[in-house]
Symmetry: C2
Subunit: 248 residues, 2 copies
């Protein structure tokens, strides 16, 4: 059957584990890890960090540490022993980070980035950069996959709602289409959550997990939309921040 619909596609993948099922060519992959990796990355750029190197393993992070880099590492919601910071967005607001190169390894987020970069151009998505990201994506006119980082390979609610918000906006332009049920579900979940995201996510398992670690301030920050109007994209192996008008 010939596909007569020439609009570009925007779809949602619920977790990195499901990523191999998405065989089509997606030119842009939006990596989302709202609690907290991609929110932290947006906070870093908003606060003047020059570039950020995402690494998958703690060992890689240690190698960069030995070379004198500023390195953060988080596992299971907590800072890994021997590192100065993890993925709390607030730890990226230090004045001495301005203009610096930062290295970061987190449980889910940086792994997703490294899986995604083999397939398409990686862009960082969070609720904190939602509106500028949506506008920027529409301008690109490319096939887009929103890759949720999830929690230990499973679906999570906050990443899906963020993906649903992006998709809902892109579809509303008439310039894009979605075919997958996962994408439709993400949109439905966003639409029922949008008037009260904090309340809607009260039951989310990851929120409960972080609350048990006394990370309430982090949660509130990460779930507040549009605090960081930045577009971090992966250039080679480093994230840099590009302007809203740039076309890649």
């Amino acid at each position: 059957m010939v596909d007569l619909d020439e609009r570009k596609k925007v779809e949602v993948c619920f977790s990195p584990y499901l990523f191999p099922l998405y065989k089509e060519e997606f030119e842009i992959i939006v990596v989302i890890d709202v609690l907290r990796a991609t929110s932290a990355i947006c906070a870093a750029f908003q606060n003047g960090v020059k570039e950020l190197i995402p690494v998958s393993t703690v060992e890689e992070a240690q190698d960069y540490q030995k070379k004198g880099f500023l390195v953060g590492a988080e596992r299971q919601g907590q800072i890994v022993e021997g590192f100065d910071f993890g993925n709390s967005p607030f730890s990226y607001m230090r004045p001495d980070f301005k203009g610096q190169t930062i290295v970061l390894s987190t449980t889910n987020g940086t792994k997703s980035i490294n899986i995604a970069k083999e397939s398409g151009r990686v862009v960082i998505g969070a609720l904190s950069n939602l509106d500028v990201l949506k506008e920027w994506l529409v301008k690109q006119d490319k096939n887009v996959l929103c890759l949720c980082s999830g929690w230990q390979n499973k679906f999570n609610l906050e990443d899906t709602i963020c993906a649903g918000a992006i998709l809902d906006h892109m579809l509303s332009t008439g310039q894009y289409r979605s075919e997958e049920d996962a994408s439709i579900a993400a949109k439905y979940l966003f639409l029922s959550a949008k008037d009260n995201i904090l309340g809607y996510l009260k039951a989310s398992s990851h929120r409960r997990r972080l609350k048990n670690l006394n990370l309430n301030e982090d949660i509130k920050y990460c779930l507040t939309p549009n605090t960081c109007p930045v577009i971090p994209i992966l250039d080679d192996d480093r994230l840099i921040s590009v302007g809203i008008d740039s076309i890649i």
Copy 2:
């Protein structure tokens, strides 16, 4: 951390592909393939079929055919060449099927059954047996996983909504709990769909797929709740129908 909550769990797994991530012990696994395998199975029992043997491959189905069994096989929504029926519920309403043993192989549904049976007791779920199934599950007081068959390993909307309906009822008794975000999402999706399931699923990809195959009557039948008050469970390698008051 000691788990002081002694309530049994009920969770939702979006597709067989994600099933390996659910390591906990689930004593009962509800296999759901609304469009159309589990709806067809419920229709078969409602219409007097004695037992139904689910097989994964077309080859196994052919072996049974050679032995003289009544055998159905479906792939990609269509009857496989050489077989008399696929997984249209209407094909199980033949009077000559009463009291018979039927063999069936389908794209997604029977595969899920065969994956699930290694882990727990398999029960068949569909919208067509929703209310009796919900009541029966509550009586069992066991850990329950609703396994959606999905479409080619991906999430699908109709199975998830059916799973969400089961979960919503079980949680409402106060006797069960859910911890996974996938389960919470299934419940949210059911709650927003429940007043108009047909309309809600208008955009679902599998519905579009079947519509293109002129299977509108099948869709309408499969999405109508409570047409078949039966509880098909797997006993050894065969599905049989048990009474609503039975405890397994």
